[in-house]
Amino acid sequence: MCSACGFPAAPGHWTEAGAPTAHDRLRSRMRRAEVLQAVLPFYGLKAYGGGEVPGIQISALSGGESILRDLDEVWALAEKMSGGPVDPLDPRFIGDE
């Protein structure tokens, strides 16, 4: 549990397995936000990096912010907001547009 925001840490999500130390975890969180930021704006969302808050900070371009536990929640939120899933094989991500 984060003592500042009360957000429970969710140990064991498979995507966090590759970062053994606190330093690795911080770097991984910032990198995750960077990758998300390359994708989510197409779906009306914005991702924030930084180590202040555990979880993944997402804001909607139309306003409103969420702190999500893991990537599964990010994709579920993006699907809900845009009416369809974030498909990595969408033409815009494979240069077929």
Partner: protein, 320 residues
């Protein structure tokens, strides 16, 4: 006289992609139930992963790059002939190989494999197929049975069905699955397992089996094929996980299986998914054959290999 006398007893272990064949086999090896057996692992992809998990077997052969029920059938026959030949040369009194376990690929139909072994003019004197065991995933198999003729063929040829992951489903759906299995193959023994360990099955005498569509009424789907993805230095683990988690969320019904060993700051991680479910990555020791590290196999349908590669590169770009 026992029909198997003097011949090697072969157990064929089948089951759909991700049904838990290797997990079950690994536990049997750990428990010493297959002591002295020669284990043959077949993988449809050219990247063998399961052999990394089965290090405990005394002798292990890997047939990678094709299914032994079709493309690689002759490779299997040649391997079994070689094993038989070597066994024939063992001097009297010395211990001879008595058992072979063949783990088929998840895309294999065990029927033609058994038929090929039984009808080979040489092997018929050396090898007897003693049992066909098929692993059935309690979580996914009902949906597979509705749409995949292969899953049904695998179940129909089994002597024994091992229902895996029984701790991950509620009692009601599990009873429906058991009733459906016993309807598809009434003669097969049924047992349950959780991570390879025996687990009791509930009584399903009052349960209704699922009414499955006739296999000839199923809409034809593109065949499931393996794609190899090399994670070179430009692809970091974090970008890869963002990409894969999105891919599974969007297309988990078409991406049947993903597996491979990825090098990360934590070490060598064994990554395995079954449809949308990702198993917690396991840390593998820094030993054994590491040539296939960072080679991921994606098995599924409905996309082009080149599109997977380009999409992954897009996600892993450093400057946008």
């Amino acid at each position: 006289m026992n029909a198997a006398e003097g011949r090697i007893r072969l157990t064929a272990l089948g089951g759909y992609l991700g049904s838990g064949k290797t997990t079950w086999l690994r536990h049997q090896l750990h428990e010493g139930r297959l002591r002295g057996a020669h284990v043959i692992v077949n993988e449809a992809a050219e990247t063998p992963v399961d052999d990394a998990l089965l290090g405990q077997s005394s002798t292990l052969s890997v047939l990678a790059g094709g299914c032994v029920c079709c493309a690689a059938r002759q490779d299997l026959i040649d391997l079994l002939r070689r094993i038989s030949d070597e066994r024939s040369k063992v001097e009297g009194g010395a211990a001879r190989l008595e058992k072979i376990v063949l783990e088929t690929s998840g895309l294999a139909d065990p029927g033609p494999i058994v038929e090929a072994i039984r009808s080979d003019p040489v092997l018929v004197y050396h090898v007897v197929v003693s049992e066909v065991i098929v692993a059935v995933d309690a979580l996914h198999s009902l949906s597979q049975l509705r749409g995949e003729p292969l899953g049904r063929r695998q179940i129909e040829v089994a002597d024994r069905l091992i229902v895996t992951k029984v701790d991950q489903v509620a009692q009601g759906p599990l009873q429906t699955l058991l009733a459906t299995l016993s309807c598809l193959n009434p003669g097969a023994g049924l047992s349950g397992a959780v991570r390879g360990v025996d687990s009791p099955l509930p009584d399903f005498s009052g349960a209704e089996p699922e009414r499955l569509p006739e296999t000839d009424q199923l809409s034809p789907k593109a065949p499931v094929t393996p794609v190899r993805l090399h994670l070179d230095d430009s692809i970091d683990w974090t970008a890869f996980t963002v990409w894969l988690s999105a891919l599974l969320h969007a297309r988990g019904d078409d991406i049947v299986r993903v597996k491979g060993v990825v090098r990360t700051p934590t070490g060598r991680l064994l990554l395995q998914t079954v449809r949308k479910v990702v198993q917690t990555p396991e840390i593998l020791p820094e030993q054994g054959d590491m040539r296939e590290d960072n080679m991921i196999v994606v098995i599924g349908r409905g996309y082009k290999a080149e599109h997977l590669r380009r999409s992954l590169q897009y996600f892993a770009r450093r400057s946008y």
